[in-house]
């Protein structure tokens, strides 16, 4: 791609929080002071050596970073490719979400906030937030759609064990989108003592920027580990996309490199079924949850209900930076169906002894199916964003198995 558009990517977001025409702060006036306070706290932390030292100490000794880069020998042999997995599933709490939760909870503490709220879809972010809230002795409320609570009962109980209050959200589609609405409504009323710990690269500025920066540890580690283990750069980076935090975390440190990148969205029951969460593939630009970006919406501008077997991808919006990267053509955005993801879930479990989260299984599915048109021996790096323990019940149900 031409270098001019590359440099455009690198200066993102601009000082008003825009990624090209996306991003921004589409929020009620009540929230503007808090967003300003958060941005200031983040910029000040950026200058403060002790902030990064503490974050790094927690990342290493509490979360278990750096996570391994694993050469997946059996699937590599089957595909005729060299496949490496970035093992974010081995983080404490079982997914990449802890990277962002730790970064933000330290900011919340700097801002003197005593209460943390969050939304969660699959429950992985909610568990990460409940975990860091326990670690720092902060009150924690997690909003979760009733439908997601049913799908992810195990994670609901985990959050409760960690001392968080899980509030069911019964409005709209009763999934992640509605949980975010409810968290924002809570925040409008409690903003003076509460920090809203958003879990993905969505929401108003500065969230898409700071969540990206906290997740970019994934890509930075990959660059170093890959060059040590294999030398040079991989040919392709592959990650699943709901809001897009693990993908941007992997991609961002490689945007200056000559590396192909593919983000995989959930095609649900098929792109033409109308029941999917393929926002970048089938959506149009719009505004949701405080920022502009691609959106699944109808002709009247009402948000459409997404569907995915994976609660973490079941979201009708997507991060503003992904929206820009799509328009720039820097990242390709493809899709995998529920069925594809289930097949890849079993495939990785059987061949590598790793049960992946259904979210990450969407990314693996594209390799399993057609190798993404790669030449023999191509080197592929997949972000294994989380582990699949939480999905075992969903998968059993989908496979028609009764669990006791």
């Amino acid at each position: 791609m031409p270098s001019s558009s590359k440099s455009q990517v690198y200066s993102q977001p601009d000082e008003h929080g825009h990624f090209g025409v996306y991003g921004g702060q589409y929020v009620p006036e009540t929230l503007l002071p808090a967003l300003g306070e958060l941005e200031t706290a983040y910029r000040q932390a950026g200058q403060d050596q002790s902030y990064w030292e503490e974050l790094n100490r927690l990342a290493v000794h509490y979360a278990g970073r750096p996570t391994p880069l694993y050469h997946a020998g059996r699937i590599s042999a089957q595909l005729g490719l060299e496949v490496y997995l970035k093992r974010e599933d081995l983080n404490h709490t079982g997914a990449h979400k802890i990277n962002n939760a730790l970064g933000q909870v330290l900011l919340a503490r700097r801002m003197g906030k005593s209460r943390i709220i969050a939304e969660t879809g699959a429950g992985q972010h909610g568990v990460a937030v409940a975990t860091v809230a326990a670690l720092f002795g902060l009150e924690c409320v997690v909003y979760m759609g009733e439908e997601d609570m049913r799908r992810q009962a195990l994670n609901v109980f985990r959050m409760e064990l960690l001392g968080a209050q899980v509030r069911p959200v019964g409005s709209g589609s009763r999934t992640l989108k509605d949980a975010i609405n409810e968290a924002i409504r809570d925040w409008v009323a409690t903003v003076e003592h509460t920090h809203y710990l958003i879990g993905s690269v969505v929401g108003p500025h500065p969230y898409p920027m700071l969540v990206r920066d906290f997740q970019a540890v994934i890509g930075r580690e990959v660059r170093e580990q890959y060059s040590k283990q294999a030398g040079g750069l991989p040919d392709l980076l592959l990650a699943c996309i709901g809001g897009g935090s693990n993908a941007i975390g992997l991609f961002h440190p490689f945007l200056d490199a000559d590396v192909r990148m593919v983000g995989v969205e959930a095609a649900g029951r098929g792109l033409d079924s109308g029941e999917h969460a393929a926002t970048l593939t089938r959506g149009t630009p719009g505004v949701l949850h405080g920022s502009a970006g691609y959106l699944l919406q109808n002709g009247d501008g009402q948000v459409q209900l997404p569907h995915s077997i994976s609660a973490g991808l079941d979201y009708p919006g997507v991060g503003p930076e992904h929206s820009l990267l799509k328009d720039l053509g820097r990242v390709e955005y493809l899709t995998a169906t529920d069925e594809d993801a289930l097949a890849a879930f079993r495939w990785l479990s059987e061949l590598e002894g790793i049960i992946p989260a259904l979210e990450a299984a969407h990314a693996l599915a594209l390799l399993q199916q057609n190798r993404l048109g790669l030449a023999d021996g191509s080197k592929v790096l997949v972000c294994l964003s989380g582990r699949g323990d939480k999905d075992v019940q969903t998968v059993a149900r989908a496979l028609g198995k009764e669990l006791p």
Binding site: V27, T30, S171, N181, V191, E192, V287, G299, D300
Partner: protein, 257 residues
């Protein structure tokens, strides 16, 4: 002359009812607005329903959901305003989230809104900085752009928002979403005095106003009061919504200081 500054310049406090357009039924909206005017309302807000109203409490969420199920769209609302204009000159403020407006096309929306007889706009998820061109075009089209201030809005920001708005500000009474109970504390008085001091334009107060006592107390500190959730809640149960709106709004209008 634009209708909103004209009405706000007239003596007396103003009662501003909020109706979700197309709620409880599609055909309710025109008679509701006419009944409100007869009951003593001087301006009317029409809510444009959105699937994800993040500044609204349960009552307006529910009314929005019903209105969408009734088939309400932005073009339908503009046609309805044109129908109201055949019978009434009451100033009409549209309140709605930005996404459906952008989806229709912002320029087309502004032209058609002005043409239909809309007087003002409140977009709760669009601060003036986020789309200055939109607000400039709106004012060029003759619409009043009404911005929100909240208890945590700094005084300098209030001055700025008043200047940007030009004709009218909307002071949110509490930190919270629509329909939250009004605080009885001294804080509200101090806050509204601060708005008066810093906003160099008239302002109305909304969120949580439900009773004649609320209208009396808040009305004495502002140029008008907005009543939304409490009104919609009554309409939800009413067998004759316009008659219910008339009775309720009449009791509130009588309490205006």
């Amino acid at each position: 002359m634009r209708r909103i500054p004209q009405v706000m310049a007239a003596p007396g406090k103003k009662l501003v009812p909020f109706f979700t357009a197309g709620y409880p039924q599609l055909e309710s909206t025109v008679p509701l607005v006419l009944a409100a005017e007869k009951a003593g309302a001087q301006l009317v807000e029409l809510g444009m329903p959105f699937s994800d109203p993040l500044a609204d409490g349960p009552v307006i969420q529910q009314s929005s959901q019903t209105a969408l199920e009734n088939g309400v769209t932005v073009p339908w609302i503009l046609k309805t305003v044109a129908r109201i204009r055949e019978q009434s000159q009451i100033p009409i403020i549209l309140m709605g989230y930005i996404n459906p407006i952008r989806r229709m096309g912002a320029t087309r929306f502004l032209e058609e809104a002005a043409g239909a007889g809309v007087d003002g706009l409140i977009i709760p998820d669009l601060p003036p900085e986020e789309d200055p061109v939109f607000f400039e075009q709106a004012r060029d089209a003759g619409l009043s752009t009404i911005f929100l201030v909240a208890p945590n809005t700094g005084s300098e920001r209030m001055v700025h928002l008043g200047r940007e708005a030009g004709d009218l500000l909307y002071a949110v009474s509490i930190m919270g979403v629509t329909g939250t109970a009004l605080s009885a504390r001294q804080d509200l008085t101090d806050y509204l005095k601060r708005v008066r001091l810093n906003a160099n334009v008239p302002f109305v107060v909304g969120f949580g106003i439900a009773t004649p006592q609320d209208v009396r107390r808040v009305g004495s500190l502002a140029d008008g009061v907005v009543v939304g959730s409490a009104l919609l809640q009554r309409l939800a149960q009413a067998s004759d919504p316009p008659a219910e709106a008339y009775t309720y709004l009449h009791s509130l209008a009588a309490a205006l200081p």
